[in-house]
Every structure is written in structure tokens, then in C-alpha cells.
């Protein structure tokens, strides 16, 4: 048995029974990272104290401490989530030297449950991208084919889970940044309902869309991590005052009584054939498991990407204003006055895509354009939300492809931002509506994984995990 192949659920069980020590687990993963990360490039920073921390966990257990939910589990964390005393660069030159003095709420909660932070993972700079190519440091590779991208922006976390270089990871999802790379790397990626997981300590991209979520081997692991990280937080006003359920108890093997909606707008002509086939296979499998499948329509789907890029860039332009060379992070060596200091710092510290989005966001908020862009986008956003509300009167969950294509080649879309933006076409609307959604692998196109997306109504994570676990179970036994 190789420790690397185990799920969190399994390993937690072994730790509980004292069949394995925390140190053994961490040593194995650390070795694997040393061995294979040179090729995949998941990690921006590896925690060199993790073995000491594992030893401390073991002696805690030896001293009679009862094992916690994530005892000794090595977890990777996307580099836009603050971990005390580890760099949080957002894969940007701008924050290359920034070490936050505090833990994000999710990190506090992981640690409270015994998880160990293995390292910080690569991403698109400030989470702006769908391929992890816009990282200022290096490009992460897809573990299924190293000539291809792992997706993004949480590409480092996805590849680390896919390549078994951690047991599970945290990502952040603003328009699909957990789900799309999860689909590309053949793992499970979950974006919770907006407000279920605290954003405190997540370096904001677009505050009204961002959610932290788990990236794991299977649906059960996703639930285990959700049990730990979810729930109210007095430090985040947008975090819901809500008692999260025990997510693990929703897992099941059939889909009896569940109504599944399949929106026509999510199967456009441009979608790759292999993706369409695999997703349709999954829908047929759902029927065989007892679900009722119904074709539905989400008529405003087509406006999603446009609305998303207005709202997200507007918020980002303001969120990223604080990176100015005054307080922390990069400061230009060459400046004669304050204005030059600002301009050179930001000109030199940010990459092309970041600058592009800051300019777009600044434009749509400018006086004279605000009504035409930002205000209108907010209106269309509520139409998109209504589409989902209407649909969920008829069905319990919605099935769609996670992405319109399988992982593309490194460099293939880098020069064409518009093409890159369309990678979020099936995921972004979910963020605009604040809904929970999960992607999970449902087969392969050649050697490349294909992902299914399951979308549920707001706070109906129960429905979502029920459906996802039954589908996962089906493919586990047929493949």
C-alpha cells in the first residue's frame, strides 16, 4: 500500500487506529514532492517545518490526545490564502517578499483539526486566469500530460492533488478557479454557496464572487474538509450566520427521487465532442441510478461571461489598489516622486494580465461609464440569478460540463485573452448567482480527464453531495 494513493477519509481512519504515524505520512509526501515537483511545478513554497509539526502531532497522540478530523493530513494551500510565516505571493512579483502576520480563518480551522500545511501552491497571478500560465514564477504542468496546462487559477492545488503531492488542497473560486482546474486534473473541486466559508485571509480578487473550497481525490474528502472549514466567522461580514450540516452524511449510492436539469445552453456547438459524450454518459448513468432527467433552459446564460468580467474586474481594480509599494510587497527602486513611485511599482510589480484587468475594472467604474457597464452588469446578474431560481423550481440539481474542452496545450491560448476567458463559460454564472457547485471526473478523452459539473440551489449542499457521490460511486465501479 502506498500512502500517496490514500484518501483523507482512509488515512484519518488509519491515524485513529494508530496504524500509521503523522511523521510517516508527511515524510512520504515530502519525498514525493522532492521527487516529482521538479516536473509538475505545483509548489511555490514547501513548508520545511512540516516534519517537526508531524512529530508534535505524534507526541500529542502518544500523550493521550484524541485524534482530530485531519490529524497529520498534509494539505496544500493556494498561494492567495494567508498562512502565518509562509509567503503569500499570489504568484506575483508584487508580493514576492510578503509574509502575512496572520492565518486565514480556514487555516486556523485546518490546524485546529490537526491538518499540516505542506506548502503554498502556484496559481495564475492574483487568480486572474484559467491556465496557471500567468504566474510570475513558473507554469504548472498537468499531471496527466505535462505539455498541457492544469487549468487555473488554482492550477497548483489541482495538479498537487492530481499528482498525489498532497492529500487535499484549498483553492479559491471566483469564476471557476477551483472547478475548472479540478476537471483538468481529474479530481473533485467544490465551490461552496457564497458565505458558507469565511474569506478572511483570502487575498481578494472579486469579493462578491470569491469562495474558498476544497480540492480533493473524492467527494468524501471534500465533505471532510468542508466540515472543518465552513461556518460563521465574526471577521467576515459576508460569511453567513449559519450552522453548516455534517456534509459527510449526505453521501449515497443512488439517485432515486432526484430531478436533474440539463440546460440546453450548456451544450453549445463549440463544445468538444469528447466532453459532450462523457458528460452525456454521466447523465445517462444518473438516470440508471434512479434520477429523473429533464432538459431545462437558463436563457441569460450567454451574458454570463460579459457580466462576470465587468463585476470581477471592477472589484479587482479596487481590491488590488492597496499594492502600491508603500506598506509591503514590491517597491520600485527608481522614482523621483510619489506618482512615479506608484506608477513604476505597479508597472513593474504586476504582470500583463493583472494590468489588463485593473484597467478594465477601472474603466467600467469610471464616471460616465458606471451606469452603462457596472450598474447594468449588476442588473443582468440578477437576471442570471433568477434563471437559476426558476430552474430550481422544477429540478433539484443541474448537470453541465465543467469545461468546454479538455486541458489545452501550454502556450495555446496565452496570446488570446478572449479565448482564455471562455474557459470559464460553464462555471462563472454559478459565482454570479452565489450557488454551490462541484466538478468531478466522469471519464477520459484519451488520457485526459473530463469533468462533470453539478450545481445546486443556494445552501443545498446536501443535494449537491448526494448527486455527486452517487455519480462518483457509479464511475468508480465501472471504470
Amino acid at each position: 500500500m502506498d500512502i500517496l494513493s490514500l484518501t483523507i477519509g482512509r488515512i484519518a481512519d488509519m491515524v485513529r487506529k494508530r496504524e500509521i504515524s503523522c511523521l510517516e505520512i508527511c515524510e512520504r509526501f515530502l519525498d514525493a514532492v522532492k521527487e516529482r515537483d521538479g516536473e509538475i511545478n505545483c509548489y511555490l513554497h514547501v513548508n520545511d517545518k512540516i516534519l517537526e509539526e508531524a512529530k508534535a502531532s505524534d507526541s500529542r497522540l502518544a500523550g493521550g490526545g484524541s485524534p482530530r478530523a485531519l490529524e497529520g493530513v498534509p494539505v496544500a494551500v493556494k498561494d492567495n490564502i494567508c498562512v502565518r510565516q509562509m509567503p503569500a505571493t499570489c504568484a506575483s512579483r508584487m508580493l514576492e517578499n510578503f509574509v502575512p502576520p496572520y492565518d486565514a480563518t480556514v487555516i486556523e480551522r485546518l490546524r485546529d483539526q490537526g491538518a499540516l500545511i505542506l506548502g503554498k501552491t502556484n496559481m495564475d497571478e492574483f487568480a486572474f486566469g484559467s491556465s496557471t500560465e500567468s504566474s510570475a514564477f513558473f507554469t504548472t504542468r498537468n499531471p496527466f500530460d505535462i505539455t498541457r496546462v492544469p487549468g487555473g487559477s488554482s492550477g497548483g492545488s489541482a495538479a498537487a492533488v492530481g499528482a498525489r503531492l498532497c492529500m487535499g488542497a484549498l483553492g479559491s473560486d471566483t469564476g471557476g478557479s477551483i472547478r475548472q482546474p479540478a476537471a483538468f486534473c481529474g479530481i473533485v473541486g467544490f465551490k461552496p454557496s457564497y458565505g458558507v466559508v469565511s474569506r478572511y485571509g483570502l487575498i481578494a480578487f472579486a469579493s462578491s464572487l470569491d469562495q474558498i473550497g476544497p480540492m480533493t481525490r473524492d467527494v468524501m474528502d471534500s465533505c471532510i474538509i468542508m466540515n472543518v472549514i465552513s461556518g460563521r466567522d465574526s471577521r467576515d461580514s459576508t460569511c453567513l450566520d449559519y450552522d453548516p450540516p455534517d456534509y459527510t452524511r449526505f453521501l449515497r449510492e443512488d439517485l432515486k427521487g432526484i430531478r436533474i436539469g440539463v440546460p440546453v445552453e450548456y451544450f453549445p456547438s463549440g463544445i468538444e465532442d469528447s466532453v459532450r459524450e462523457k458528460v452525456q454518459d454521466a447523465i445517462r448513468a444518473a438516470e440508471s441510478l434512479g434520477a429523473e432527467v429533464e432538459e431545462i433552459s437558463l436563457p441569460h446564460t450567454g451574458y454570463g461571461i460579459a457580466v462576470y468580467y465587468i463585476v470581477a474586474t471592477a472589484e479587482a481594480s479596487s481590491n488590488l489598489a492597496r499594492f502600491d509599494g508603500v506598506k509591503y510587497g514590491y517597491r520600485t527602486p527608481s522614482h523621483e516622486n510619489l506618482l512615479e513611485m506608484y506608477m513604476n511599482t505597479r508597472g513593474e510589480g504586476f504582470g500583463r494580465e493583472v494590468k489588463r484587468r485593473i484597467m478594465m475594472g477601472t474603466y467600467v467604474l469610471s464616471s460616465g461609464y458606471y451606469d452603462a457597464y457596472y450598474r447594468k452588469a449588476e442588473k443582468v446578474r440578477s437576471l442570471i440569478r433568477k434563471d437559476f431560481e426558476e430552474a430550481f423550481r422544477k429540478v433539484d440539481v443541474i448537470f453541465t460540463p465543467a469545461t468546454p474542452e479538455v486541458p489545452f496545450r501550454i502556450g495555446e491560448k496565452k496570446a488570446d485573452p478572449l479565448k482564455m476567458y471562455l474557459s470559464d463559460i460553464f462555471t462563472a454564472n454559478v459565482n454570479l448567482a452565489g450557488l454551490p457547485a462541484i466538478t468531478l471526473p466522469v471519464g477520459y478523452s484519451g488520457k485526459l480527464p473530463v469533468g462533470l459539473q453539478v450545481i445546486a440551489p443556494f445552501l443545498r449542499e446536501d443535494m449537491l453531495f448526494k448527486s455527486a457521490s452517487a455519480i462518483e460511486n457509479h464511475f468508480r465501479h465501472t471504470s
Partner: protein, 494 residues
């Protein structure tokens, strides 16, 4: 100073008679008030003034990436208090927005403020029987402070202790007509806010700041002139002077058929002029949008009623009651009620059945002088209201003289010992004994033959001198009325 400034100053001097007469002044104020909450608007940091730089900061108010604001409910209560005291309608839902601009004292490079939906609007403040309309009251966070080193090229430092302190901005309609009206408005506003106990309103410490929008127009003209915005005034007096200067400047331009340009000008206290901003600041586009990190602020009707009911009497009402209830003059009532602490002190004193007029005189006179001399606030005066009442009851029933009372007050202020004990220990009770006084008078008359002779020669001043001698002999304790009567009688009989 250039020729133009000289002209303006000439105009200022001749203001009463000259060309200013032909113009009318239109003023609107924007007043920023720091709320005296324990903690900042969006984090738990202390708001204490005067701490070492950057000792009252945390990841939130220093704009660390990943941090989020959480609204301080106390600040909302204070804002609602101010708004309802100013007769504003309080909104059930108001929204925080981001005001985006770059400046090193603003750690996030946006200020969390309110824009399209402020917490309250449409109120007024009475000024000599006239309503000055309040356009809006909104909440926002304060910025930090820059500390520049002396030389032109030295570094500048940022102190973030002030960053995130809650402010309310009170914006008036352009209803004020003169600099002195503006000053009175500010004084009245300050009184109200002090009464509400929501701000220290200390202009020197920056807890109250004021910008003024000023324009002039020919008398009788109904259209408004082009306005300028004046900033950087650090006292009420500076506000008055800056408005006067700016009005004279505008009039002197218009009277030469010049044009006023709409701009922001800074009051330069050291040379007493307003100056255009030297660096040509590009027009700001603040790109306001609702802050996605904060939920809308909800103030329910119930909450608003409770807060409004918790507001006690305001200065104007209290002044009127003092006139009615205590028979004080407008002037005395107004002085006593200008500060809540003083009015509270006064009412505690007179609750001990003390003559209200005498109490007013003693508090506004001797006690205030002592407080001022020792830089003490009335609410920490060693002369407790009960002590003051005791002292006044001693003078009222004639047990001690006014002169003695002054000494006892000083003693009480210095030692904190109650007046009764001081009077007993020092044996200061007033001498009303006719025989004792007559005896002392006889003695003094015998020893001051020259003064007696002067009196006989019609020099009335001699009486004062003799009274003084008698009082000195009795250690100031003799009843002055009895002394005077007896003395005059004795002189006539001689």
C-alpha cells in the same frame, strides 16, 4: 505677498463700507466629526488620541491583503443619534461604498464611505431662529496621517493610528450668509454633538474638521456664483477668517470683471490667505461602488426610536428651561448650557435648594477661573457639586462672608476638603455679633484719626478705607452690611 493679496486685504479692512456691501455671500459647510467610540469603525483597534505612531494598528486598518472590515455597531448608533438630533430622516437601509483614490495615508487606497445611500438626510439646525438645512449625514472611515521630514527631499512617514477611526460627515445646504454665521453654526453643532456624547469635537486634535464651499453674488441676484472649496482650517476662528478672506478675494476678482475658477483652495494659517493647490491635481474620479465586503446597514424603525428616545435635552431646549425654571438671564443660561458637563454640574448644585442666580455667578466666575488656571475639566473638579452647594448655603444664610467664601473655594479646590470642615477648622464663621463689631469699630476709629477727619471734610472714600480696616481686624469674617451700617452711624454720632 503679491499685489493681489494686498488688494484683497485692503478690501477686508474696508469691508464694512466698501464694495463688499454690493455682494452677498453664500456658504455651505462640510463638517467631519470623529466619533469617540472605543474602537475603530471596522476593526478592534483603540481610537485613543496621541499614542506613539503605529501602535494602534492591526492587519485590518493597515490594509493587509486578505483582511476584511467588520462594522462597529456603536458607530452606527452614534451616527443615528447625530442624525436624529439634527432632524434628519434616518434610512432603514444605507450602503457603504468604496471611494477609490491613491494616497499613502490611505492603506487600501480606497476609503470606505457612503455615497449613493447615506445613513441619513434632510435635516436642519436652528440658527437664531432660522433653519440651516442639513443635506446629508454619512459615515466613513478616517485616513492615517503623513509626517513629513523637515527638508524638501527627506522621507515622509505614515502613521496609521487614525486610519479607520469612525467619522460622520455632515453636509449643509448653502444656507449660511456670513463668516460669523458659519462660526455660530459650528459652535451650535459642536454643542449638540457634545451633548450627545458622541465626539470630543476638538478641532486642534482634528476630531472636528470643516471644509467650506464659498461663492459670492451681486445682491439681488438669484443665481449662485462659482464656488470654491476651502480646506485646511484648524479652528473656528480660522474658518471665519478664511471665509472673510475668500469672499473678499472673489469680490475683488468679480469687481474687476474677472472670473472665479471652481477649485479647491487651502487656508494658509501663517500668512492668513487662501491659496490654490500648488500641484495641479487632476480632477478626481473616485469610482464609487458598493463595498462588496460589507452588508447593507439596517436601522430598523424600532432601533431608531430607541436611539432617538435615549437622546436627552439638547442645548437649546436646556437653555430655555434654565431661563424658565431658574429665572436666569438668557446670557447666563446660554453660558451654562453651552457645555453639557457645566450644565450638569450646575443642576447638581442648585438641586440643593441654592439660589440659582448665585450658583450661576459662582460657577461661571470663581469656579471657572480656578478650573482654567489648573487646566481641569469641570467633571473632574475637586470642588464637587455637593461642596459647591454647601459653600453657597454658607454664604446665603450669612454664616460666612463673600470674601471668606472665595478663600474657602480655593482651599477646597486645592485640598478637596469639604467647605464645612474648612470653615469649622479655620473658625471662619461670619461675625454678626453687634457688640463685637461695635467694639472693633470704636478701636479702628480711635486709631485712624486722619481718616475720620477726612470723612468730616466730605471725603466719602474714607468710609471704604475704614471698612477695610475693620474687615482686616476681623479676619474678613465680619458681616459687611452690619459693619457699614454701624460705622456710618458711629461716624454721624461723633
Amino acid at each position: 505677498m503679491d499685489v493681489f493679496h494686498f488688494e484683497v486685504i485692503q478690501l477686508l479692512i474696508k469691508k464694512q463700507v466698501g464694495m463688499m456691501e454690493n455682494y452677498e455671500l453664500v456658504i455651505g459647510l462640510e463638517v467631519h466629526v470623529e466619533l469617540s467610540t472605543e474602537s475603530k469603525l471596522f476593526c478592534g483597534c483603540s481610537t485613543r488620541f496621541g499614542a506613539e505612531p503605529n501602535t494602534q494598528v492591526c492587519p485590518v486598518c493597515s490594509g493587509m491583503p486578505g483582511t476584511l472590515p467588520v462594522l462597529n455597531k456603536k458607530a452606527v448608533e452614534s451616527a443615528v443619534k447625530a442624525a436624529s438630533a439634527l432632524g434628519c430622516g434616518v434610512e432603514e437601509v444605507s450602503i457603504f461604498a468604496r471611494k477609490n483614490y491613491f494616497y499613502p495615508d490611505l492603506p487600501k487606497n480606497y476609503q470606505i464611505s457612503q455615497y449613493e445611500r447615506p445613513i441619513a438626510s434632510d435635516g436642519f439646525l436652528m440658527l437664531d431662529g432660522r433653519k440651516i438645512r442639513i443635506k446629508r449625514v454619512h459615515m466613513e472611515e478616517d485616513a492615517g496621517k503623513l509626517i513629513h521630514s523637515a527638508g524638501e527631499s527627506g522621507p515622509s512617514y505614515v502613521d496609521l493610528n487614525r486610519s479607520g477611526i469612525p467619522l460622520i460627515e455632515i453636509v449643509t445646504e448653502p444656507d449660511l450668509k456670513s463668516s460669523s454665521e458659519a462660526e455660530t453654526f459650528l459652535n451650535n453643532l459642536k454643542r449638540i454633538l457634545e451633548y450627545l456624547e458622541i465626539s470630543d469635537c476638538n478641532m486642534e486634535e482634528g476630531s472636528l474638521r470643516c471644509d467650506a464651499n464659498i461663492s459670492v453674488r451681486p445682491r439681488g441676484e438669484s443665481r449662485l456664483g462659482v464656488k470654491t472649496e476651502i480646506k485646511n482650517m484648524n479652528s473656528f476662528k480660522a474658518v471665519r477668517k478664511a471665509i472673510d478672506y475668500e469672499a473678499a478675494r472673489q469680490v475683488s476678482i468679480l469687481s474687476k470683471n474677472g472670473r472665479i475658477s471652481q477649485e479647491t483652495r487651502l487656508w494658509n494659517e501663517s500668512i492668513q490667505v487662501t491659496e490654490g493647490m500648488r500641484s495641479k491635481e487632476e480632477a478626481h474620479d473616485y469610482r464609487y461602488f458598493p463595498d462588496p465586503d460589507l452588508m447593507p446597514v439596517y436601522v430598523t424603525g424600532q432601533m431608531c426610536r430607541e436611539i432617538t428616545e435615549s437622546i436627552g435635552e439638547l442645548p437649546l431646549e436646556r437653555k430655555e428651561r434654565f431661563v424658565r425654571e431658574y429665572g436666569l438671564s438668557e446670557y447666563d443660561a446660554s453660558s451654562l448650557t453651552s457645555r453639557k458637563k457645566v450644565a450638569d454640574y450646575y443642576e447638581k448644585v442648585v438641586s440643593g435648594k441654592i439660589n440659582p442666580k448665585a450658583a450661576a455667578n459662582w460657577i461661571m466666575g470663581d469656579l471657572m477661573a480656578l478650573l482654567k488656571e489648573h487646566k481641569t475639566e469641570i467633571d473632574s473638579s475637586p470642588v464637587l457639586p455637593g461642596y459647591m452647594a454647601e459653600l453657597l448655603s454658607f454664604t446665603e444664610d450669612g454664616r460666612i462672608t463673600g470674601t471668606t467664601a472665595k478663600d474657602v473655594l480655593s482651599e477646597c479646590f486645592a485640598t478637596g476638603i469639604c467647605p464645612g470642615d474648612i470653615v469649622r477648622e479655620k473658625n471662619l464663621l461670619q461675625i454678626n455679633d453687634q457688640d463685637l463689631i461695635t467694639g472693633t469699630i470704636r478701636e479702628v476709629l480711635e486709631n485712624n484719626g486722619k481718616a475720620v477727619a477726612d470723612y468730616r471734610n466730605g471725603r466719602e472714600q474714607a468710609v471704604g478705607f475704614l471698612v477695610g480696616q475693620i474687615m482686616r481686624k476681623t479676619g474678613g469674617k465680619a458681616n459687611p452690611a452690619i459693619v457699614r451700617d454701624t460705622l456710618l452711624k458711629a461716624l454721624k454720632e461723633m
